[in-house]
Structures are given as C-alpha cells and as structure tokens.
C-alpha cells in the first residue's frame, strides 16, 4: 500500500515538474542570451492562462490547441517589448532592469485583476476529471497531456537552437556578444527574437497550466519565484537545466509532502535551492562564470 502511495506521488511530481520546466525554460532562454532577468515572468504566465481561459470559454478552443496561437501572440508581444521597452535597459545597471520589469509585473497583475477580478477562473475541459489506472497508479489525463505538450514545446525549442541558422546565431550572441557583433550579426534583432521565444514558452506554459490549476492574478508572483528557483537550481541560462530543475522541484515537492508534511513542500524546493547554491552555485547544468 505504501509503495503505491509513493508511486502515485512520484508520477504526479514528474508530470507537474515537466510543466514547471517549460515555464522556467522561457526565463532561462531570455537570461542566457539577453542577460536580462525577467521579473515579470510569472505574470506573463498568468496572462497566458487567462488567454487560454478566454479562448476556451468564448470559442470552446481546447487549451492544448490554443497554446499555439497564444505562443505566437506572446512571441510578437515579446519581440515588440524587447525592441521598444527593454532594449534601452540592456546595458543599464541590473537594478534599473529590475525596477522596469517589476513595474511591468505590477501592471500585469493589476490589469488582470481589473479585467477578471480576484476570483479563480478555470477551463473545465470535458476530460478535466478523467484519469487512467495503471496498476495501482492513477494518472490524471490532463497532467499527462500537459507533460507531453511541455516536452514537445521544449523539444522544438532545442531543435530551433541547434539546427536553424537563427538559433545558432542566437547561441553565438549568448556565447560571445562582441564576436557576434563583429561578424555582422544583428544583435538587437536576435535579442528581440530571443525575448519573443522566451515569452512564447511562457505563453504556452500558461495555456498548459490552466488545464491543471485555476487562473488568478494573485498567483503570478508565486510563479515568478518558482521559475527563479528552477532556473537557479538547473543553472541560469541552461535550457536543459530548466527542464531538469523543473523535474527536480516537481518530484522534491511531491515526495516532501508525503515524507515530511504537505505544507512543507515549498520548503523542500527552497531547501534544494539552498543546497545547490551552497554546493554548486552555478546550478546543476550551468557554466561557471
């Protein structure tokens, strides 16, 4: 009986962790290239949740489908935001970048609060409450779909950076900004593309999250903190690290809630963070500065 409890909990942790990983991936991509920490990351994820909620409620579009147009819209928003608002701050001190993005975060939280109010909004899919029995393990259908979608989006992003010229150029910017500029790469444009890709990941993750939990404006800062924890554990700027960090957090939280107490699961993720910072400050898969 006890092992089936652990098996159930472990499966839930892995599936949730993959979605966490996708959400953190956007933050890691942006930081890895542009070297700007997006302090409005969780807030954008919540906007993605609301976008999926509206498309589902108004047009009946399943969030697993609407994540594509949402990701596209977020890409455009990210591209525009980088070109207009963030680019002037790229070379400025970090505290100025921090204030700018916290300002964006506050606008997003209060904007969603004004439009949608404080109540939690959920997309009740026809299969929201379905699950599969695999031996003694009960697996939620939506959680499996969300995890598969998160893996697919992450795979696409990895392929883009590895196999396309633009992806390689963006990696060149991340590795050696001066060198990239010297060989004639349009750094500003590549930065904007990267920010757009980062936000596209967040938008897609938001659309997936709304299938698992409810959208509410006040949850945004918690998502920002969660993404930061994952990225620091995985390694700032490491895409694989973001996925690994997400999985670790998902599993650690799930196991802690059984082994210690459910109310201690947040403590488990922060415990892991402290441990990583103490033993490997660059993160599990991060490069030493």
């Amino acid at each position: 009986m006890l092992w089936s409890l652990y098996a159930n909990v472990l499966v839930q942790g892995v599936l949730t962790g993959l979605v966490y990983g996708l959400m953190a991936l956007g933050l890691s991509v942006i930081f890895g290239v542009v070297r700007v920490v997006n302090f409005a990351h969780g807030e954008f994820a919540v906007v993605g949740m609301y976008a999926a909620f509206i498309l589902f409620r108004s047009f009946g579009i399943d969030p697993f489908l609407s994540m594509l147009p949402i990701a596209l819209a977020f890409f455009v928003i990210g591209y525009g935001l980088q070109r207009t608002l963030i680019n002037p701050f790229v070379s400025r001190p970090e505290h100025e970048q921090f204030i700018l993005l916290v300002g964006v975060a506050i606008i997003l939280v209060n904007g969603t609060l004004m439009i949608f109010g404080p109540d939690a909004r959920s997309a009740n899919l026809p299969y929201s409450f379905d699950s599969w029995d695999i031996g003694p393990v009960i697996v939620d259908k939506v959680r499996v779909y969300a995890a598969i979608a998160a893996l697919a989006v992450s795979g696409l992003l990895f392929a883009f950076f590895r196999f396309t010229d633009t992806g390689v150029a963006i990696r060149a910017c991340a590795d050696n900004l001066t060198g990239a500029a010297v060989v004639g790469l349009d750094v500003k444009k590549l930065y904007a593309l990267t920010f757009g890709l980062g936000l596209a990941c967040v938008g897609a993750a938001g659309a997936l999250m709304v299938t698992l939990t409810d959208a509410t404006p006040m949850i945004a800062p918690a998502y920002t903190l969660l993404a930061f924890t994952i990225v620091i554990i995985g390694g700032m700027g490491s895409m694989t690290g973001a996925i690994v960090g997400g999985l670790l957090i998902g599993v650690a939280e799930a196991l802690a809630s059984v082994l210690i107490a459910p109310s201690m699961k947040t403590m488990a993720s922060f415990g892991l963070l402290v441990l990583v910072l103490a033993l490997r400050p660059q993160g599990l898969l991060g490069k030493r500065a």
């Binding site: 009986m1 006890l2 089936s4 409890l5 159930n8 909990v9 839930q12 942790g13 949730t16 609060l113 109010g117 404080p118 109540d119 939690a120 909004r121 959920s122 009740n124 929201s128 409450f129 379905d130 699950s131 009960i138 939620d140 959680r143 999250m209 698992l212 939990t213 409810d214 509410t216 006040m218 949850i219 918690a222 939280e253 799930a254 809630s257 059984v258 107490a261 459910p262 109310s263 201690m264 699961k265 947040t266």
Partner: protein, 408 residues
Amino acid sequence: MTQSTRLSRRTVMVGAAAAFAAPAIVKAQGQTLKIGSLLPRSGFFAQAGQSMHRGALAAPELLAQLGYRVEIVHIDTESNADVARTQAERAINEGCHVLTGAFDSGHTLAIAQVTEQRQIPFVVNVAAAPQITEQGYKFLVRNFQTGGQLVTNGLRLIKDVMDAKSIKFDKAVFLHANDTFGTAQRNAMDAIWPRVGLPIELVDKIAYDPRAQDLSVEVTRIRSLNPDLVMCVTRASDAIKMVRDMVRQRFQPKAIISPGSPGFYDEEFYQALGPLADFVMFGLPWANPKATMTQAFERAFVKANPNNRFAVDSFNAGFTFEGLLIAADAFKRAGTTSGPQLMEAVRATNITDHVMIGGPITFDAKGQNPNIGSALVQNIRRTATVVLPKDVALAEPVLPLPAWQGRS
C-alpha cells in the same frame, strides 16, 4: 371642575431631563452617522472582501427603510494590516464616527489599536481570532463567532447530521490550510475534538500550503487512509483543487464537511466545479432564510447587486449588514456621534430582528456577541441551502455524498 396644575418634583426632573436630551435627539435626527466600512477589496482576501462590500452597498437602502440615517464610506484595506491601520486613521480624520470591518483578524487587530486610541467605536463584522475580544478593548465589539465557537458548532452539527440521517462515520481526516486562519482552526480542533466526543476516529490531520498549484499529493495521502469523512478548512481556490483531485483520483468519501470555514459557498467554487460542487457541507453562522429581516435584506441586495446571488454572498454580506445595523441602531439610541457615548450605546445593543441565525444581537462584558448560531449548509443545485437546524432549514440534508461520476 378644577384641574390641578401643580407640578410634582418628579415631573419637573423628567421635564428637565427631556429638555436637556431633546437637543441631542433633535441633533441626531438631523445628523447622519458616518460609518467607515473597512474591507479587503483587493489583494489576497479580495474575493471575500468584495462579497462583504456587496453587503455594504445593499445596506443603505434597507437602513433608510428602517429609519436609520447613515453614510457609508467604503475603504479598501488591500489585504494588508499596515494599510488597514493607516486607512482607519484616515477614516477617523475624515469624520467617520464608527468603523466596521475587517474580515481578517490581523487587520482587525491593527484597526482596533487605532479606534481604541481615538475612542471611536469599532464593530467587528467578520474576524474569528479569540484575542480580538480578549485584550480588553473598550471601543470594540464583535458580532461574529470566535475560531473556537466556529469549530465547536461545526462539530456539533456533524453530530446532528449523523443523528438526523442515521449515518455513521468510522474514520475522519482533517485537512487545513497552513495560513493564519487554517492554523487557528487546527489549534481549535486539537483542543475541542477530544471534548465533543464524536464517535469517529480522527486518523490524520494534514496541513497544506494554500499557495500549492494543486492538492493531488494531499488527496493521494487522504485516499490511502480511506476515511469516511473529510473535514476541511479551506478557501475557495483550495476547495476547488481538493474536490477536483478527489474526482480525478476517484476518491469517494461518505461526506465532505467543513466545520467552520469559507470556500464551499463562493461563486468561483460553483463556476469551477459545476455539478461536482453539490452536496459538500459546511457548518457556519449563516443568514436565517426564514427571518423577515433576511428577506428584506435579500431584496435590497439583489437591487444593489443585480449580477450577484444572495445565496452565495449571504454569509459575508449578512454580517457586513449587521455590523452597519448595530452602529446605526446605537446612534439612534445615543442621539450623538460622540465616540464614548456612541460606544456605550453599542455595548447596550439588543436587536432581536436581524439577519443571521441566532438570538438577539447583544454584547457581553468583553464585547462579544454570545448569541450567534451556526447552520449546516449544503450545496444543492449549486446553491448554498440551510439543511440544519430544522427550524430554519429549507431542505433535508443529502447523505452519503452521491457519486462523483455521472453528475455532469
């Protein structure tokens, strides 16, 4: 026939007293009581704060019909104790004669320090922390149950429904948020459970983080214990997560009952879960659906808030209205807006015709209303419906909990 025109000493005294009192009463009749309604209309508690605010919006019309003249100043405490304190100062500086509020116990205590210092009456409408009426505040009264009373009455109602439906629960699990309210309820449960003598084995008490993305692990743990009864202290968003994960994991207890917490009667709970929101129960102080004052308040509520259901807001809105009623009634009797005299009148309150279930609104020496009753309320067709006590019930309780499957 001659008529004696001789005045007795007593008549002269009465006349003199009336002459002295008359200007005050006349002044009161000409004056309007300015009440500051401090509520968390934004931030973490916004959902409940907005619900209470709708009660405050509905109150003036009914109070006017009852012959009270009040002006309500609506103030947002932003779910922040510091903001609550500064807004209380500001409200008093801007001429509020009485303050009401404030939903959260921490905010309430912050406001109480201000009203005590400024000698302005503070009528607490919702806030359960026992210390609110244990710290000797002279300018505070509370028209709400303490955390201990909420749990005691909630557990008593579990016993009542077991008797009414001849149903037996062998094992129970208590699930609660680890926030201020949830922890206070847990402490009350620890103290009260052994005393109430319910014939149920409490197999586990599980605290969860209300910021958690879901409660799947918590539900997995509960499921592994296989209790008949799940008792919970949640907010609406957690209650949604809990029920959702129970359905996904096909965990079917005989009953889900909250012994004194919000969550199950919020519109977002009904919206998110649809038919799955039905048949859960909660024991809380509730609006008396059979009282004429409740019915009058419901009409005023619907007029002021045409897009909201009274059944959903009746707990928050009802207590908000009663807080304002207490202040208005005291003003009418005191005939003055002077803080100390108004407070004397507040303490002498005795309102028999009111909204919430229970005896007349009165206050003991500590400023606590000891007469507030609780009801067992069950969601039936997505409407919070009083099912116990029988004298105020609108329907029979439905137990055991009908199967999740096949409800939609």
